[in-house]
């Protein structure tokens, strides 16, 4: 037994020595930082040499964009990767613990499927959509990163767009957003009309007549179990709880989930969507 212990002891000391000598933090920092340091050095060099040029070309945003994307990369690779994975594929080390055997899982940005958009179902989101999700987070699952500030938030969104989506994001949407004022503000009559629409448009088939949804088992695009949202509990609304958020969710749907967009159904009568919003609000006593 003493021989075994001695062997363990010597082996341990040897491994420890190797670990400390070969991977000391200072050395590791240099190794790991090599690419980042190169980028930072490039940034500094560029700062020095191109500053005058930048001032002369204030209208050219490309340099600013590059800087922003680099900043976004730093933030993403220090924090966001834990869920979304270093390559943005939604396979970070924490990913499966968030939704072990059921929806949701962190988004795979390379798939081109985005749940939270203000664009048509099937389209890519606008940059502002990505920014809104980063800023507001997703209740229950993704924290709000509003304290990054608007610049930081935009940087991360730009990095995601450039590095993972790799397509030009739309800058406008074809969906008509009717402003929530005047005749389209809340009224009991509007909510009543909404209750009729709720059944006509078969919302109740998933969300139930009382909006409480029950335990209907559906599947998302990854074949993970997903339950319809309980419309009486606003804290479960991933896409936001404001009047406008609910309107947007109805019109765009939630891609990757069974929730379709109803933009086509409301074509030419978009203001009627507010009736549905008001009915949902009434279910929450709001």
């Amino acid at each position: 037994m003493d021989d075994t212990k001695s062997l363990f002891k010597q082996t341990g000391l040897l491994i420890f020595g190797i670990l400390f000598l070969s991977s000391s933090p200072v050395q590791s920092q240099v190794m790991d930082h090599s690419s980042m340091n190169m980028e930072e050095n490039e940034m500094k060099d560029r700062d020095k040499t191109d500053r005058m040029k930048d001032i002369q070309n204030m209208g050219d945003m490309k340099h600013t964009d590059t800087m922003a994307v680099m900043k976004g990369k730093m933030i993403f690779q220090m924090s966001c990767f834990l869920c979304h994975g270093r390559k943005g594929e939604g396979d970070g080390p924490v990913s499966m613990f968030i939704g072990p055997y059921s929806h949701p899982r962190p988004n795979n940005f390379t798939s081109g499927i985005f749940k939270f958009r203000s664009t048509e179902s099937g389209d890519l989101p606008m940059l502002t959509d990505l920014m809104r999700t980063i800023r507001e987070g997703i209740p229950g699952y993704m924290p709000s990163f509003r304290n990054l500030g608007e610049d930081g938030i935009k940087s991360v969104a730009m990095y995601i767009a450039k590095e993972f989506i790799q397509e030009e994001l739309p800058t406008t949407t074809t969906i008509k957003y009717v402003k929530h004022h005047g005749p389209y503000t809340y009224s009991a009559k509007s909510a009543w009309r909404g209750s009729l629409l709720f059944k006509i448009m078969k919302c109740n088939e998933c969300h139930g007549n009382d909006g409480k949804a029950g335990r209907m088992d559906l599947k998302d695009e990854r074949s993970l179990m997903i339950h319809p949202v309980d419309l009486t509990r606003q804290e479960t609304f991933g896409n936001g709880t404001s009047h406008e958020d609910i309107y947007r969710t109805i019109m765009t749907g939630l891609d990757g989930t069974p929730m379709p967009g109803y933009n086509d159904s409301f074509a030419g009568e978009e203001e009627s969507a507010w009736d549905l919003v008001h009915f949902i609000l009434s279910l929450q006593g709001r």
């Binding site: 001695s6 341990g12 670990l19 970070g92 613990f97 335990r215």
Partner: protein, 476 residues
């Protein structure tokens, strides 16, 4: 009927009533779907499993959150909307955002094969109240109040540093940890870690108080799915009949040692760097999200606020994280720890050198972690050379698998090659299997079976064959 008999009868009925209460509570909670009412997460509106594989074990995000001083990595003070600002101080408006409760323990357990055979009905043995959060962007705090029953510790040294006498007691008070954590990044680099440090360094974080440095180790002492199983004393003589069952890697491992104050040190007590909390000062920093260096000093083995020998126990730990795609992550850690005149043998203060490694691999819903720790004593009295073994080794490895949303399987193996008085010492090998059923992310009941795979003997390390227990783990 004697007073003693009536007292025992009352205790029996109390346990039965408690058992019914717990069964009722479980039945009630079973009717709810599995979802989180997490503790820290109330503030950030996130589920328990954003930071935990399952509470209390941290996943990579939880480790980064803890490392950042209880803030979402790369943000300062996370979500501020629920806070009131008074000068630089951010004051929580919602008390529940800083307050959490954990109750854990067996409510039925049976030790067989040893002497004596024992079956207990009990209340959860440990109840803790946690308070944690941030005062400012760069100052965070954590403290807990704990009530723990049937704690075995060395008895008062009335018979002058004689090893082998213990007592059983209940404790209430400041618990395993209470500390302030300062983010020194702002002082060194101009911005708090969360505000995009240009050096890509998270921290350095300075922790002062009663700290658990092993939280940063690849295998943290204080985050066990398989909770410690209670030891047993002969209350009349103070002799220990069965040691508390803990992860052996972190245990003291030596038979015959006393602490600096002369109280007997339980062989399975987690000590030094791997204690679950002790007075000290800790500095750690994470570089590029991958490389951690940690150093600090601790007061001494449970020396409390009164320093026995005025010498500190320094340590240094290095850790490398890897992975980050394909649902994979891992880390390895190396530890050097010097216990400076930190324990006693026959009234002589002795030094204690501890070193070891820990590793962790997570792939999808499988989490494997282990540690191997060696201990070497020096400065022993010369007359003990032939009777005292000054080296020891402990090894613990655990694997956890979430087999469904609600079921967690754990398998743990503990191995101790003990040191200490040769006439007393024995080795330990224990294999534990456990199934946890989560009714919610923060409420689990478990059933476990720990098997002593060494021979059964009267030695307190080997004095059982089988421990079967049913218990609960509640976080709110």
């Amino acid at each position: 009927m004697s007073m003693k008999q009536s007292g025992n009868l009352f205790e029996f009925y109390l346990k039965i009533v408690t058992l019914f209460f717990l069964v009722g509570l479980i039945t009630l909670l079973s009717s709810f779907p599995a979802e989180a009412i997490p503790a820290f997460s109330r503030k950030y509106d996130m589920s328990c499993t954003s930071c935990h594989t399952k509470p209390p074990r941290l996943n990579a995000f939880g480790e980064a959150f803890h490392m950042s001083g209880y803030q979402i990595p790369q943000t300062t003070e996370g979500e501020l909307r629920k806070k009131r600002q008074i000068g630089r101080i951010h004051s929580e408006i919602e008390v529940l955002n800083i307050f959490a409760l954990r109750a854990t323990g067996n409510f039925a357990e049976s030790f067989s094969g040893g002497n004596p055979v024992e079956t207990n009905l009990a209340l959860p043995r440990e109840i803790e109240l946690y308070f944690g959060g941030t005062f400012t962007d760069d100052i965070s705090y954590f403290f807990n109040l704990a009530h723990e029953t049937k704690v075995i510790e060395g008895s008062d040294p009335t018979d002058t540093h004689r090893y082998g006498h213990f007592k059983e007691k209940s404790e209430f008070g400041l618990g395993k940890e209470f500390f302030l954590m300062f983010d020194l990044n702002a002082s060194l680099f101009g911005t708090p870690s969360g505000a995009m440090s240009k050096a890509m360094i998270m921290g350095p974080m300075l922790m002062v108080g009663k700290v658990d440095p092993s939280t940063n180790f690849s295998y943290s002492t204080n985050r066990q799915f398989v909770i410690n199983a209670p030891g047993r004393l002969d209350k009349d003589t103070g002799h220990i009949q069965r040691f508390t069952l803990t992860p052996y890697a972190f245990a003291s491992k030596f038979f015959g040692l006393t602490k600096g104050d002369g109280k007997s040190l339980e062989v399975t007590r987690s000590v030094l760097y791997n204690s679950a909390g002790d007075f000290g000062l800790d500095i750690h920093a994470m570089i590029a999200g991958k490389y951690m260096i940690q150093t600090g000093i601790m007061q001494g083995i449970e020396a409390g606020t009164s320093d026995v020998n005025e010498k500190k126990d320094p340590y240094v730990m290095a850790r490398i994280n890897f992975g980050g795609t394909h649902y994979f992550s891992g880390s390895v850690s190396g530890l050097l720890n010097w216990g400076n005149d930190t324990a006693m043998l026959d009234k002589h203060l002795i030094d204690w050198f501890r070193y070891g490694f820990a590793g962790n691999l997570k792939y999808k819903l499988l989490d494997i972690y282990g540690a191997i720790i060696w201990d070497k004593l020096s400065g022993l009295p010369s007359n003990t050379a032939a009777t005292f073994d000054d080296t020891a080794m402990g090894f613990t490895i655990e694997g956890d698998l979430l087999v469904t949303d609600q079921h967690l399987l754990s398998l743990r193996y503990d191995h101790m090659i003990s040191g200490g008085r040769i006439r007393d010492k024995a080795d330990g090998k224990v294999l534990t299997f456990q199934l946890r059923k989560y009714y919610r992310d923060n409420f689990a009941i478990f059933i476990r079976d720990s098997v002593n795979v060494e021979r059964v003997s009267d030695n307190p390390l080997q004095n059982f064959r089988n421990l079967i227990a049913v218990g609960i783990d509640i976080d709110f």
